[in-house]
């Protein structure tokens, strides 16, 4: 075909690491967590795939996916309303006693019939807990050059605090790699507590579609759950698993603190450009008017999306679409999600307000940098 389309289809797992941010996923899933003023987490990986020429993307949802369906619609904003391919949201299919997915194996098993019928040579897979402007084309090229069975992406970083908190061992597992001189993955550690910089997996993979189908047929038949723990880590000697380092900007959400911190980091233009200066990140259009600063307002070091009306004072904060800040209100170090209303005279510091929260006139809400106050969706303070 004469176009720049990639010979790959995409699979996104929108529920991975839900358990790390129980507050934020009360009525949604990881993929639909609002991030960076006007986006949802899934927008980043989805746009990355589309910008890399991938036009056939399946989203293997597990639970709480209403908000994600609402966000994605027919996929038009991502240019995924296609006759061939396009966006494909795959809910769990209750068959042969398949319960809610626990790991990727069951999720993919659900997709196997579909995958067998596709034409693309490669499959790329990713979670949606990392906001990243990722070049899948470069990954595909590297994968093909190495003649690997599987290529997996990692970044050099310390294990984030959010991962280290005590919890059930299979809840949001994370993986660190030992890589040899040829870039081959020799060992995968699960939930390692090793201090210092590690090769931490980003859970982005590429492999040939037919290879994936065969691999998961066997895995499903043997009753495996977890792709990394039960398949990858066990068969590194038989399979050629190549490591691919990602050095660009990324924002990984693994607890409330990191959610707050990763939003705030975007106030630094270097970081903002790191995430957005590349290919565009698409999201659902809301048709908000431009943001209005009314006489007497004061804004310093903020990022604000369209549709806000600001009459008060706001500093070091991220404002999502449609936020209102009343007269005499002082908002500092806050992340205010869509349509948060801060009434006149409110003092708010280190607050994360979810969608449609209202802080009524004169109230004072104060958290700390290490422990921001979270106010759930539709709450009135």
């Amino acid at each position: 075909m004469v176009n720049s389309n990639a010979d790959a289809l995409g699979i996104i797992f929108p529920n991975s690491y839900d358990t790390l941010v129980p507050e934020l996923v009360g009525k949604r899933l990881m993929a639909s967590i609002p991030f960076a003023g006007r986006y949802r987490m899934v927008d980043f990986i989805l746009s990355s795939m589309v910008n890399s020429g991938i036009g056939n993307i399946s989203i293997a949802v597990r639970q709480n996916y209403l908000s994600l369906m609402d966000h994605l619609g027919s996929g038009r904003e991502w240019d995924l309303t296609r006759k061939n391919g396009g966006l494909n949201i795959v809910p769990p299919f209750a068959e042969n006693g398949v319960k809610l997915y626990t790991g990727r194996v069951e999720a993919i098993a659900n997709l196997l019939d579909y995958l067998r019928r596709q034409k693309e040579k490669y499959v790329v897979m990713s979670d949606s807990n990392i906001a990243v402007n990722f070049d899948f084309k470069a990954l595909m090229d590297e994968h093909a050059d190495n003649h690997a069975d599987i290529t997996m992406v990692y970044a050099e970083e310390e294990i984030p605090q959010g991962f280290l908190k005590p919890r059930i061992a299979t809840d949001g597992m994370y993986y660190t790699l030992n890589v040899d001189a040829d870039g081959r993955v020799r060992k995968i550690h699960i939930n390692s507590k090793e201090p210092g910089v590690q090769k931490l997996a980003m859970n982005i993979y590429i492999m040939e579609r037919e290879f994936l189908v065969k691999l998961f047929e066997i895995a499903f038949a043997r009753g495996y759950s977890y792709f990394e723990r039960d398949i990858l880590a066990q068969h590194l000697d038989k399979m050629h698993v190549q490591a691919y380092e990602f050095c660009g900007y990324k924002a990984r959400i693994c607890d409330m603190q990191s959610y707050f911190r990763e939003n705030m980091k975007l106030l630094d233009e270097k970081n903002l450009d790191g995430l957005f200066a590349g290919d565009p990140i698409y999201t659902k259009i809301r048709d908000d008017n431009p943001t209005r600063y009314i006489n007497g307002s004061k804004a310093s070091n903020i990022m604000a999306a369209d549709g806000c009306v600001i009459e008060g004072e706001v500093e070091n904060s991220i404002l999502f679409r449609g936020v209102r800040i009343g007269k005499g209100a002082v908002v500092k170090n806050c992340v205010l999600m869509q349509d948060t209303v801060v009434e006149d005279g409110v003092k708010a510091e280190y607050v994360i307000s979810d969608k449609n929260v209202k802080l009524t006139a004169g109230k004072e809400v104060r958290g700390a940098e290490t422990f921001p106050v979270y106010i759930a969706k539709h709450q009135v303070v």
Partner: protein, 402 residues
Amino acid sequence: MAKEMIAMLLAGGQGSRLYALTKKLAKPAVPFGGKYRIIDFPLSNCINSGIDTVGILTQYQPLVLNEYIGNGQPWDLDRLHGGVHVLPPYQQASGSDWYKGTANAIYQNLSFIERYDPQYVIILSGDQICKQDYSDFLRFHKEKGAEFSVAVMEVPWEDASRFGLMVADEDDRITEFQEKPKNPKSNLASMGIYIFNWDILRKYLEEDKADPDSENDFGNNIIPNLLRDKRKMYAYHFDGYWKDVGTISSLWEANMEVLDPEHSGINLFDDDWKIYSRNSGMTGHRISAEAVVENSMITDGCRIKGHVKHSVLFAGVRVEEGAVVEDAVVMGGTVIQAGAVVKHCIVAEKAVIGEKAVVGGMPSEKEKGVATVGPGIHIGNNAKIGPCAMVEHDVKDGEEQW
């Protein structure tokens, strides 16, 4: 499936009095209000009024407009039956014609209207800023049993002779039409928005086409003919915000009025009457610690490090350190470099204002102009652009243009 009413939107206007701004695009495509183009207003009015079929008549510089309209999705006008259609002049068996006048533009597309066999046709103008409920206009038209209605605005008597005026009796029935008269008998100015019964529209357009002396214009030909035949013609009073942004100063003024919706009456912050547009898709705007933003509208993608006061900034505008922007309309993607001073002016899309350049100036006794910098223009460092200037070519470092 017949439609009750479809819209025909006249978007061929050259907007020659907007000079540099309309050199490469038709007037309806001129950016307005931070993230809109003028044509978003009639299109959004249509969908908000329940009209799902719109023919857009283009002629002058249609490229930007065509691309902008696309399949009509941003206005929810991508429909199986109906939706938005761009209708340029085309070659016919009998030869090809440019649209000679507003009436001729509709005449050449009678077959488009026929496909939908509507009861009523509303004729709209693509170069006005107005939020109007056309369904209320239609209700009036039906109540009066009218064959033709025109939307009118009361204007101050002293300005009346600048407009086409409708003289109407106490029942709003039109008895006379005066085009820019010396001695106005009425202060009801035509807004150029008409509702026709479809059979009447067809009859008069065909008759007009057959008249070799006609200018094929609604105001000069069709309305006088309707009056001659004593058709049931009514004037619908509209008292909302309406502005023909045909000149630089009126375009600038209308943008400034957006900043003061409480007094000007043009409220873009109306959830019940949204104005839709094709979105820039940029990330939220940034206001740095050293920036000052006062009484302004800022759109996605802007990066503000300087001082912005009483201005409208479109998507992706950059205002660098120490730059001052006041009473200005700055369109999408323009960069205002460090230390530049931009006042009381319109800077079009993707322009660059060099370091320490000065563009425009606050109005004084002597000069009250709105300086205008055309799209893609580069103003050099330390250059100076006078308050009445119309910049259509790049200005080198240190040069002046008045």
